[in-house]
């Protein structure tokens, strides 16, 4: 069966003046449809770069990346943008909501960009999502009027509005308190249970163990891959040891 995400020898080099930084050194991974994969690693390990390449936000220096059978590294900017809006949902650490749009407008925005004709259906879907995520009361508010947890839930709703095949999540709890973090992770797990494929990068072990598979990234290379269950056991043991 063709994997939903397939990267082959992904390499990414950043050049800043005379300084060269190799962020990814030939990463090859496969993610199947409906799978929940987490990527762990310390700061600077290349997690976010990997996420950006798989999301079509950036282009690899070498190697290939395919999502849903489409080779992203060969697409034009416009084709990439269209692909993103149809197939991928993003959730960021800093929420990245548009300040001057209301919660509802933020959530509906990707759908309107993709196909603004059926506005009634879009409104219905955004309402359903906001209710599901417990923020239906906040629809007319602006992002800056919400708590961090609420903002992240709006961001998740926005990421899901186009029913993407892949949800890319970047440190979703990095900016939240523990209660809100728990709530956000529960929502992601629930999405996964509904069949949503998720790739989440994090350096929080409690978040990482939510995945079916955990990949460990170090200095731009996958150094370890283990099932989520095993990772959970390790995390639990570490917690017991204090």
């Amino acid at each position: 069966m063709t994997p939903l995400v397939k990267t082959n020898g992904l390499q990414k080099i950043y050049q800043t003046g005379a300084v060269t930084c190799e962020a990814l050194k030939g990463v090859s991974i496969d993610i199947a449809g409906g799978e929940f994969v987490t990527v762990m690693g310390h700061s600077g390990s290349g997690k976010s770069t990997l996420l950006h390449l798989i999301g079509g936000l950036d282009r690899p220096t070498s190697g290939s990346v395919e999502v849903n059978g489409q080779a992203l590294h060969t697409m034009s900017e416009t084709a990439l943008a269209r692909f993103r809006r149809q197939n991928i949902g993003f959730v960021f650490q800093f929420f990245n909501l548009i300040d001057n749009l209301t919660v509802q407008a933020n959530v509906e925005l990707p759908a309107l960009l993709a196909n603004g004709r059926d506005r009634r259906a879009i409104r219905e879907r955004s309402r359903t999502l906001l209710e599901r995520l417990g923020i239906a009361e906040q629809t007319e508010k602006h992002p800056w009027e919400l708590s961090g947890g609420q903002q992240q839930r709006v961001a998740i709703a926005r990421a899901l509005i186009n029913r993407p095949t892949l949800l890319l999540v970047d440190e979703p709890t990095g900016n939240l308190d523990s209660t809100s973090s728990q709530m956000v992770l529960d929502i992601l797990s629930e999405c996964h249970e509904r069949g949503q494929a998720i790739l989440m990068v994090t350096h929080d072990p409690r978040a990482a163990v939510r995945g079916e598979h955990v990949l460990f990234l170090h200095d731009g290379k996958i150094v370890e891959a283990m099932p989520g269950q095993q990772a959970r056991a390790i995390a639990q043991r570490l917690a017991e040891l204090g």
Partner: protein, 775 residues
């Protein structure tokens, strides 16, 4: 202090584009300010300036040469109160042929080198050479007949032979004006040429100019000349005060227009710098929040921004000043010509100091205003919201576009405009100012064109003038009644009038079909023929302290015993003699002044007249005696020069507006860089980003045009009305073509889009990863 300096240096160097834009804005504004101040400087006392620089004569004496011998000149020169004098000057009144016009001129001999007293201001070309048969024409001939250097005029010599002389220059004489003067316009030749043309010296007129110790003592000095030499030795004289009054009167519309431009340009400079810097500081409120978090005090923040912008303005303002000084001759030489004065180069210490201090002052005030607000804002608020919280409700534009089912990117572009009203206000202010500038320039040009097209507004109610010298009045009338394309005419004789107090002025005694002419009576009504009613110019009313309805008693042509009383029934726009004239019915005036024969005839011509046929008809019947001059020819070139000056100055304003569009669009895009990055992440294509940016710019341009056009028109109208009032010119007929307005709206939309094209392109190409990393 070190921290402030370090941060200021980093801000300036790390954002080179913004720094360059501030420098360009300050530089262009300084250029405009330099031009505005230089314009006002050139407007200041133009006659006095030209008079001083040309060492003008305070009185010009025209002698009865029967009573003067050449050695009397030395006696006059030695009279008390006379500081300097010209030599005896020779002239011959004659008629010259210029193209197909017969022009009465005074052909005057001038020395080969500029004289010490009453030098000529050579506006174009040069003086006649010593042994060259060539002519230097006065600017007054040019005003009437659009004379160009290189053309020729034909002079009939004393022996009847026609001689062709090339025109080698145009000159202004600070002591010539029609005001209370019987002298026709001057044409200057060398003494050799005058002698060659008219060898009989007995027909030469003699005159000389005197410069006085006390410029106000003209009448006393004339009396002194007469008492020392001969009672009637001075046939007539020209008083410099009369010439000045007439010169100031003649240039008053130019004063009004240029004064309005100067004031507007100063206002624009202040607003452009103020709003640009204000909006830049406003876009940095998040940074202010960070600095405050790091421990910067409000005062340190003020110093930081003040230092940054003052440093940038110190680069921009001298550059702009230098540019203004270099560019200024372009419009200001035209301004000087339009005011009949010398061009005053703007490079002077007071101007330099004024420009630099005004720019620095505006920069300080604008920075302090915006940074003070930033320094006082709550840290958390500035970190999360920047300068202002977005509006809570979607804008009406967003709602409207959404309801219409138009693409969401258009709605978002429009919403961006209204999301932060204060920022949009500042952005819009710059654009609106640009529109106001354009409307200002267009309105001034259109108004000038209106005056050119409708000379009646300036008091010129006729289409053409015919003057006679040898043909009789009866013969002339007979010819005009049958002349082709002449629909109506009236005749005029100029009579000298004098009040019992001894104030003398000219009176237009007119007769004919007056109802066919569009006399513009500003107050009251036109006089009834054959009555003792009169209409007067504003100058005369002011001079004599009269109003419409008052009576004025005058004697005619020095018939002191016959005092006639005239009821002033109206005020009309008198275009000459500083408005100090009166118009009455000729038959009534003749009863008091004796036989009065008109010499000038004002014609109303048919639409699209065949002027050549009219000229041929008159020439066939009277030879060259009846000379036709079209009124359009009589509108001075000043108006044309003024249009050039205003066009150049308005172009600079438009240029500044374009820079501001670019500037503000770039700032707006930079402010939205994070949002654009997010939107691209969510799937917005580069094309959609461009469409969103263009929608914002287009709506901004539309709003700026919608606000700027009426505001610009109202401002121009009020400014002109106020200046006109202060110069006593009366109502100004301000006009703005609806075609211009119709074109200006789409043009401003296009200009706004074009101005933001580069920033929008940058935004469309923005690297999402870079934005996310910066986040």
């Amino acid at each position: 202090m070190r921290a402030i300096l370090q941060k200021a240096k980093a801000d300036i160097l790390s954002r080179p584009l913004i720094s360059i834009l501030i420098i360009i804005t300050v530089a262009t504004s300084s250029t405009l300010l330099t031009l505005a101040l230089a314009t006002l400087m050139n407007l200041s006392a133009p006659y006095d300036r030209a008079f001083d620089q040309l060492n003008g004569a305070h009185v010009w004496l025209h002698f009865d040469r029967e009573k003067l011998v050449k050695r009397d000149v030395e006696r006059i020169r030695a009279l008390p109160g006379v500081v300097q004098a010209t030599d005896l000057r020779y002239s011959v009144p004659t008629r010259v042929s210029l193209r197909d016009n017969q022009v009465a001129v005074s052909l005057r001999a001038i020395p080969p080198m500029p004289a010490e007293v009453n030098r000529l201001l050579i506006e174009e070309g040069r003086r006649p050479g010593q042994h060259q048969d060539e002519v230097l024409a006065s600017t007054d001939i040019d005003d009437l007949f659009k004379l160009s250097v290189g053309e020729t005029i034909r002079v009939t010599r004393a022996d009847g032979k026609e001689v062709t002389l090339p025109v080698i220059g145009l000159a202004y004489n600070p002591m010539w004006d029609t005001y209370r003067s019987d002298q026709p316009p001057y044409a200057y030749v060398s003494e050799e040429t005058l002698r060659e043309l008219y060898p009989d010296e007995s027909i030469w007129n003699w005159s000389m100019g005197l410069r006085l110790a006390d410029p106000q003592s003209v009448d006393q000095v004339v009396k002194r000349v007469e008492s020392t030499l001969h009672a009637e030795i001075v046939e007539s004289y020209t008083d410099w005060r009369d010439v000045k009054q007439a010169a100031v009167f003649g240039a008053q519309i130019n004063f009004i227009f240029l004064g309005a431009f100067g004031l507007f340009a100063i206002l624009a400079t202040v607003l452009v710098i103020g709003s640009s810097i204000g909006s830049i500081v406003l876009s940095q409120y998040k940074q202010i929040g960070i600095l405050k978090t790091l421990g910067f005090t409000g005062r340190q923040i003020l110093w930081l921004y003040l230092g940054e912008y003052l440093a940038l303005s110190l680069i921009g303002s001298p550059v702009g000043l230098a540019l203004g000084v270099v560019l200024s001759p372009l419009p200001l030489k035209s301004v000087a010509v339009s005011l009949n004065t010398t061009f005053q180069p703007p490079f002077s210490l007071p101007l330099v100091a004024l420009v630099l201090s005004i720019v620095a002052g505006v920069v300080i005030l604008a920075t302090l205003g915006a940074a003070y607000r930033g320094a006082r804002i709550n840290i958390v608020r500035s970190l999360t919201l920047g300068a202002e919280a977005p509006r809570e409700k979607p804008s009406w534009g967003f709602q409207l576009i959404s309801k219409l089912g138009l693409p969401i990117v258009l709605a978002m572009g429009v919403n961006d405009l209204f999301a932060k009203p204060f920022r949009s206000l500042l952005t819009g202010l710059n654009l609106t100012l640009g529109v106001i500038g354009i409307v200002f320039g267009l309105t001034l040009n259109q108004t000038l064109s209106t005056y050119r097209a409708r000379p009646a507004l300036l008091g010129l109610v006729h289409d053409a003038t015919v003057s006679r010298s040898e043909a009789s009045d009866k013969e002339t009338r007979h010819l005009l009644e049958r002349a082709p394309d002449v629909e109506a005419f009236y005749s005029e004789a100029i009579i000298k009038g004098e009040t019992p107090q001894g104030d003398s002025f000219h009176i237009r005694a007119v007769e004919g079909d007056l109802t066919a002419f569009p006399f513009k009576i500003q107050e009251g009504r036109l006089f009834q023929p054959h009555s003792h009613e009169a209409v007067a110019g504003r100058g005369l009313l002011d001079w004599q302290g009269l109003s419409v309805g008052d009576d004025l008693r005058v004697t005619f042509d020095e018939r002191e015993t016959r005092l006639a009383t005239w009821r002033i029934v109206g005020e009309y726009p008198e275009p000459t003699n500083a408005g100090q004239m009166m118009m009455v019915s000729l038959p009534t005036a003749a009863r008091w002044a004796g036989e009065v024969k008109p010499t000038t005839y004002f014609l109303k011509l048919a639409e699209d007249p065949n002027v050549a046929a009219l000229k041929t008809y008159l020439k066939r019947n009277t030879g060259d005696d009846l000379n036709v001059v079209l009124t359009k020819q009589a509108i001075p070139d000043d108006v044309f020069y003024l249009q050039i000056a205003i066009f150049v100055l308005a172009s600079i304003l438009i240029g500044i507006a374009l820079i501001n569009v670019f500037n503000t669009s770039l700032l707006a895009m930079q402010e939205r860089i994070r949002d654009i990055g997010i939107l691209k992440t969510l799937g917005m294509t580069p094309g959609q980003v461009a469409m969103m940016g263009n929608a914002s710019s287009a709506v901004l341009g539309l709003i700026a045009a919608t606000l700027g056009i009426p505001l610009g028109f109202l401002m121009t109208r009020n400014l002109l009305a106020r200046l006109s009032q202060s110069y006593g010119f009366g109502d100004v007929h301000v006009a703005l073509s609806t075609v211009y307005v119709g074109l200006l709206i789409p043009l401003m939309v296009l200009v706004s889009i074009a101005g933001s094209a580069i920033p929008v392109r940058r935004a469309a190409k923005l690297s999402i990863v870079r934005v996310l990393r910066e986040e």
